[in-house]
Amino acid sequence: MRYEAPETLKSAVTLLAKEKGLAFVLAGGTDLLVKMKGGFLEPDLVVDIKRIKGVFDIAKSATGFRIGAAVPGVQLGENAALVKAWPGVVEGANLIGSKQVQGRCTMVGNLCNGSPAADGVPALIAANAKVVISGPKGKRTIPVEQVPVSPGRISLKKGEIIEAILLPKRPANSSDAYLRFIPRTEMDIAVVSAAVNLTLDGKGTVKDARVVLGAVAPTIIVVPAAAKALIGSKLDAAALEKLAAACAAACKPIDDKRGTIEFRTKVAGVLARRAAEIAYKRAGGK
């Protein structure tokens, strides 16, 4: 196995594009190194991107936030402006692993793992976040939900690297929330998860909403019917009940070691409802 730590994005892309064997990008390494140590992955090339300029930056601009590919969870949690604008995105990312893992793990890594249960991803999708991809043919920007394809598979082509995540600028009276179900308190993987992103009008009526569910289908899913149930409401009981029903209807889960179809379907609605209530309060609704 070769280990390379290039200092430019261009050389990283070239290294990945030219490798004939199995090549992986290393940022935090909290997935890759564990898989290698366990003997589940035997790469021929590992490209460490942490020496590339800008990968640890969180930049705030008129259009929103740009988060570098190697920014670890702990850095997200320490950025007050980001937490204020996107508390749901940050709380999702901060649920990954343990305290020690938080010092290394990245949202991009979590996304590129391709897991439907990834904690860092549903709130990004609810936020309409995009990723900036560098590849042999130049740069392209796509929505986060277009990255995962199926469990463990993503849409990136050979030689491509996600260099940053873009979060849009927030309108007034907006907020988000993320909740996951685990039987324990930490160090676990979501059995079901829900992210809700809301924008209210001045009177507390939901103007815009986006509802996303994790671990209930082969990929993380957006549930437009659930968002529809909330728009125009002040999150009254009837709207919340409709939301929960829409979420349950959208679930296509499996029975596995982490939970049953019945359980995931029921709890998806419960979590979406609770996340909506949190987001609503954060957005200034009463």
């Binding site: 366990g38 039987p183 993987i189 070691k257 939970g259 029921k266 709890v267």
Partner: protein, 753 residues
């Protein structure tokens, strides 16, 4: 000198205090050496090839390609481990479990092992070994395995304990029955009867340290093994037997242990490492991965238990009947028997019968797990008793007090009890502040009792006085929970030395006589007994040396407060001699000073506990949180109270994990689905409340200090206490452990409809 082991109620100066444990600083600073920390010059790395199938015939193993790989130094299969067990079924099963012979019997069963110059080479070599399997039907469920349609795993198993012995082989290797009285009449006399079937899933001890060893066998036939174990003498004896070595030729040194809980009472990879070392003529290091620890060490049984208990309206239990089915994994065992013996041990019953049915399934060979088999039996009994109390309209504690066993009670498993603590723990529970604390919304409270036999066994101890008058104590029982501290306290107490001047070490197998392993909560009980005796023998020598220094008769010297003194004014007028002074003169009075003892520690006092638990349930998700937990247990005498409390808390913590989320999940293909800590969910620190403890001391009359074992009983009540709390919180009787959120949510939804 044989020790008079009777309890004497002596006044203690050091026993009962809380000094730091001698292994503490090294453990918290990372200096302590665990199994995988040993390395030998020129060592090879070994890996084991394991079956992906639950049940299959091994048609052929071709290792030729792997042998040609550069860096591979030895490959072994069962052909390298000939059967030397000479008709000993137990040893043959151990051999077959270490390395599959004609068939693989479970997912993870070893089929070959490789020793190579490094891990990468060993890994490559495993991929080059070709095994041809012929798939056989498998069964992993304890109830399914008993059905006539189930595939029979061993064709030479005919149920023992049934008259006449069956002519057809089956997966039921033994039946047994315990009890007394007439249960048919007892149930006729009952006003209320409760009857249910309870199930518990298989759990693993969940020790953090994986099994690891370094084996080094020389061409002259002598061998060494550095290993993480609960019993290095037993490992030595068994490995030597399987490899055809004289026991004396194999020297085993135990590492520090990162948890065992019964799981390290059994050999798995050690004979493979020794055989590889012998074949390669190099030291061989073998460390299990976490995946291997789950798939192929020794978890506990999953169970299915029919329980029926009847009582009068006044709460008197008139009859109790249990049928307990436990699996032993892929080999015959007697785990159900332990369950049947312990099930009703807390109660004074007129009519009682408990029957055990041992089951063989395609899962790893079951090993002991902390009070093995008792927690599941207690879950069934204590759940039924709780329900009985509800039906009668009597307080659950009062009903238990009314039926509690006491001194003179004939236990359900046979013996008549001496002084015991079940009544005292129940009274303490009744009066505990926890019992009276208010409960919040969606919360429930439960309580339950538990029993464990405890064990004594073969033990020895050497005490050596060093030239500066400090003392070393060499013992042969592995320290799994602070026993070096308590043994040091007992030696210091007897000798009249400061605790800091006593160093306790675990001797290797060539430095001390055979010791049984640390199991049955026997460490502090039995090694303490041997240490007290060795110290008293040492004092005799010290007094004799003082007599020589004073030139007076030996019997004119007494030992007080760490000094030799003349027995009276007639003996002479000499100032007291300290150990330091006597040790300094040893070269002129007869040489090194020591005290030894060897014994079979009989009279391990039985132990009882009562636990109280408060739980809160999220009714929309079934997720539960233990809010408060109290352990009340009889220790006989707490030598070092902190480490007694540690045992109480540890057992409760493991019980909470078992009750709520831990379980082996097998797929339809017979493969284990969750062989890792991510999906085998033991509680993390933040999942647990502070576990409150209360130590009761009802002296064991058979130990000089009154000690009873304390390590295991604490895991017996939790399954039941938590199930009772959960049932009270959700309003449905929970009969299936673990009570994971999907099971709880389902129970809640079924209740609503």
């Amino acid at each position: 000198m044989p020790l008079d082991t009777n309890f004497t109620n002596q006044k203690f100066k050091q026993v009962g205090t809380r000094p730091l444990r001698p292994d503490g600083v090294d453990k918290v600073t990372g200096r302590a050496k665990y199994g995988a920390d040993y390395n030998a010059p020129g060592q090879l790395i070994a890996l084991v090839l394991r079956s992906p199938h639950a049940h299959a015939k091994i048609k052929k193993i071709d290792t030729s390609k792997a042998e040609k790989l550069a860096g591979v130094k030895a490959i072994i299969t069962s052909a390298d481990l000939p059967d030397l067990t000479a008709g000993d079924r137990g040893m043959r099963d151990i051999l077959e479990n270490c390395m599959a012979r004609k068939k693989v019997l479970y997912d993870g069963h070893a089929v070959a092992a490789v020793a190579a110059i490094d891990q990468t080479t060993a890994r490559k070599a495993l991929k080059l070994i070709q095994v041809d399997y012929e798939m056989l039907p498998h069964v992993t469920d304890v109830d399914e395995a008993l059905k006539p349609s189930a595939p029979v795993i061993h064709n030479d198993i005919f149920t023992e304990g049934v008259e006449p012995t069956p002519t057809k082989p089956s997966n039921n290797n033994k039946r047994a029955s315990f009890g007394h009285g007439d249960i048919v009449q007892g149930f006729k006399d009952a006003d209320v009867i409760v009857e249910h079937t309870y199930k518990t899933e298989q759990t693993h001890q969940g020790y953090i340290e994986p099994h690891a060893c370094v084996a080094n066998v020389s061409p002259d036939g002598q061998g060494e093994l550095w290993v993480c174990t609960q019993g290095h003498f037993v490992y030595r004896n068994q490995c030597a037997a399987l490899l055809g070595m004289d026991i004396s030729k194999l020297r085993v040194t135990a590492s520090e242990i990162g948890g065992g809980f019964g799981g390290k009472t059994h050999i798995w990879t050690e004979p493979l490492a020794l055989a590889l070392s012998r074949k390669a003529n190099r030291p061989v290091k073998l460390t299990m991965t976490r995946d291997e620890v789950f798939r192929c060490s020794g978890p506990t049984s999953s169970t299915s238990i029919d329980m029926k208990i009847g009582a009068k309206k006044d709460g008197t239990i008139t009859a109790a009947h249990g049928v307990l089915r436990y699996h032993g994994g892929a080999f015959p065992a007697t785990w159900a028997e332990f369950g049947a013996m312990t099930a009703f041990a807390c109660y004074d019953l007129k009519n009682v019968k408990s029957e055990s049915i041992e089951v063989i399934v395609n899962r790893p060979k079951t090993a002991a797990y902390r009070a093995p088999s008792a927690p599941m039996a207690a879950f069934a009994v204590e759940s039924a008793i709780d329900e009985l109390a509800k039906k009668i309209g009597m307080d659950a504690v009062e009903l238990r007090i009314k039926n509690a066993a006491k001194q003179g009670t004939q236990s359900s498993y046979g013996p008549v009890y001496g002084p015991i603590g079940i009544g005292a723990t129940l009274e303490a529970a009744k009066n505990h502040a926890h019992m009276k604390a208010p409960l919040g919304k969606n919360q429930g409270r439960g309580m339950a009792c538990g029993f464990w036999f405890n064990f004594g066994g073969q033990t020895c101890c050497d005490i050596n006085v060093t030239p500066d008058g400090t003392v070393t104590v060499a013992v042969g029982t592995i320290d799994v929970g602070g026993s070096r501290a308590s043994i040091g306290l007992m030696a210091a107490e007897e000798l009249g030395l400061a605790y800091e001047n006593v160093r306790v070490v675990i001797a290797d197998t060539s430095s001390l006589g055979h010791n049984d392993m640390t199991d049955g909560s026997r460490g502090t009980f039995s090694t303490g007994m041997a240490t007290i005796a060795a110290a008293r023998n040492c004092i005799k020598v010290l007094c004799a040396r003082a007599a020589k220094m004073w030139d007076i008769p030996e019997d004119a010297v007494v030992w007080e407060d760490g000094h030799a003194k003349p027995a009276g004014t007639n003996a002479g007028n000499f100032p007291p001699l300290s150990i330091k002074e006597i040790a300094a003169a040893a070269g002129n009075t007869g040489g090194p000073i020591a005290g030894h003892n060897e014994l079979v520690a009989d009279g391990a006092g039985v132990s009882f506990a009562t636990h109280i638990c408060d739980i809160e349930v999220d009714p929309e998700t079934g997720r539960s949180t233990v809010k408060r937990y109290t352990v009340i247990q009889d220790a006989g005498k707490a030598i070092h109270p902190s480490y007694v409390e540690g045992q109480y808390q540890g057992g409760a913590a493991q019980g909470i994990g078992w009750a709520l989320n831990e379980e082996y999940i097998y797929g339809k293909d017979g493969r284990l689905q969750n062989a890792g800590f991510l999906d085998y969910r033991i509680p993390v620190c933040s999942d647990l409340p502070f576990i409150d403890t209360m130590i009761l001391e009802i002296p064991n009359p058979n130990h000089p200090y009154g000690v009873r074992g304390v390590g295991e009983t604490s895991i017996v009540p939790p399954l039941a206490a938590i199930a009772n709390a959960m049932s009270n919180a959700v309003g449905v009787r929970m009969t299936h452990i673990p009570m994971s959120p999907p099971r709880v949510l389902k129970a809640i939804s079924n209740r609503k409809h």
